[in-house]
């Protein structure tokens, strides 16, 4: 299998606390990988290092989108140009824009018109805008939100907002999407819908996904492989069933049974 992302000996410390301790694993093109671990295991920290929100980590992230690139050499705003898009644990949408306009923000990096062309509504600006609107409508159709496209984000139910955030990542033609707890706060029906959506976008957009998630049912249903970490340390990466049966993973979640 072709390697898409390799995480090499990544460590991160906050003050005296080792949030990530020498994490290494690879992600292959086209797979859906889950990242699990108890609260405070360092999952979101790993995401923030990967997407360059934190810069002071040790180790390297190499992305093999086109030519291999060391993400550490990029600015946080340039990561998306190399095909890496993300969502956030607490929804980060623009409340006073419509759903479709929120999607257009996701296309910011791939919009080619210049400021002057926008100000005078020159041909390239209007055609870019039309092209992106069409694309956003296509994405919304796949996600199943076409009917809501002109609604403001403010006041929409949590399940919808989570889907809008995922839809926004698709606007940049990503190769790797990292989702931070997409199922958190969703009810059972919404979680089932989300599983469907993730499988669909993986096929339709030919993307690779890395997903932080606490909902074990969701992880087992969706992910091809699962990586478990605890206290910033790598435990194992394997198929969902094998991870579930792994004693070290069980210990991380349930504690050690001293009597045994």
């Amino acid at each position: 299998m072709e390697k898409l992302l390799s995480i090499d000996h990544v460590s991160m410390t906050f003050g005296g606390l080792k949030a990530l301790d020498d994490i290494s694993f690879d992600i292959h093109r086209g797979e859906i990988v889950g990242l699990i671990g108890p609260n405070g295991a360092g999952k979101t920290t790993l995401f923030n290092c990967l997407t360059q929100f934190y810069k002071e980590y040790e180790g390297t992230f190499t992305l093999y989108s086109d030519a291999p690139v060391d993400l550490g050499t990029l600015k946080v705003t340039d990561v998306i140009d190399h095909g890496l898009a993300r969502t956030f644990q607490n929804i980060e949408l623009i409340p006073d824009l419509s759903i479709i306009d929120n999607l257009l923000i996701g296309a910011h990096a791939s919009t080619k018109d210049t400021f002057i062309e926008e100000v005078f509504k020159m041909k390239r600006a209007t055609s870019e805008e039309a092209r992106l609107r069409k694309k956003a409508e296509d994405v919304l159709a796949i996600i199943g939100l076409t009917a809501m496209k002109d609604f403001y984000v403010k006041g929409q139910p949590y399940g919808i907002l989570k889907r809008v955030e995922i839809a926004r990542t698709l606007m940049s033609d990503p190769t790797l999407i990292v989702l931070d707890e997409p199922a958190a706060g969703l009810n059972d029906q919404e979680t089932d819908d989300l599983e469907e959506i993730i499988k669909i976008i993986q096929k339709e957009f030919n993307v690779t996904l890395l997903i932080i998630e606490h909902d074990m049912g969701f992880v087992m249903n969706v992910c091809d492989r699962v990586c478990a970490i605890n206290f910033g340390k790598f435990i194992a990466i394997d198929t969902p069933a094998k991870i579930q049966a792994n004693p070290a993973v069980q210990e991380a979640y349930l504690g050690r049974d001293d009597d045994a």
Binding site: T77, A85, E92, I105
Partner: protein, 353 residues
Amino acid sequence: MKVFNTLDTVFNALGRFFKNVPYAGYGLFLLLLWLIPLFHSVDVISSGQLGIFAYIVVITVAALGLNILLGFSGLISLGTAGFVGAGALGVGVFLDLGLPFELAAIATLIVSTALGALIGLFSLKVEGIYLAIATLFVGEILRQIFTTVPIFGGQSIMIGSVTLFGFIELSTFSQSERRVLFAIIAALLVGMMILMQHIVKSKTGRALLAMSRSSSAAQAMGVSLLKYRLMAFSLATFFATFSGIMYALYNQSVPTTQWTLDLSLFVIAMVVVGGYKSIYGTFIGAFIIYGIPNLYLKDLFGDVSYIFSGLLIILVILFYQNGVAYLAVDIRLLYAKLKRRIHGGSHGKAPLD
């Protein structure tokens, strides 16, 4: 209910028209503004009132710029007056150097906008109250420069009659030419409104909103905070300077002493009362904050503009944070509610013939 059906048809038709012809609204607005000099020519509006309307038109442009900063980018500036003054006085200085009016205006815009972008660098370092303090002193420094540096003259800069495009000479001392000047600044205002509409409804407007509402999402989507904060300040300064140039064009004599913090605060009040992010709302805000006290209240109570706008801003912040621009939206919601109630009320009853 027949009344509702007719009203619905009218509203829907109007809504469709303005949606299909996006510039119709602005065209209509310009025609309305052009009625003002027309009324002046038949003595319905006095010369003093024409001047007040002209000031509203001029200051709306500065308020639009501040709305980009405050409403869209979530940044504040208390230095607006300084840049309006820079526009008005700067054009006078360049005219003194012998440049034609258009070139003087362009030169002023370039110098002032570059200065504004420099101020934008503050915003990378500080936010909120500290940014307000920093820009406050920028405004004060500019004011001090205007009143003490010799090139700006002592009390005021005389511009005198302005020649546009090399052959149209217009003097504010002639009543009829003054009406033409009003028509020109009204057209400039509408032009700037359309410009702003284009900016905020595009990639730039969305990036500014993303930056202010969620800086992490903005960065993850490739929006550079450095670039767009500088952009926001440059745009606000550009609009403020443009407003100053319009002032110079209409009044043809620019005082050096009136570009104080008071004016900056009034411009903020216009944005807050008029409505964040609303283009027409900014004009309404300017009309309420400057127009109502000076056109109507002054004759009755004397100069109460500070008390009036002070009270208004407190009321708006306490009870109607969106600003008066959103009254239209709320009235529409109320109308829908009313319709539902009346329709619902008639349910189950025998139809009245």
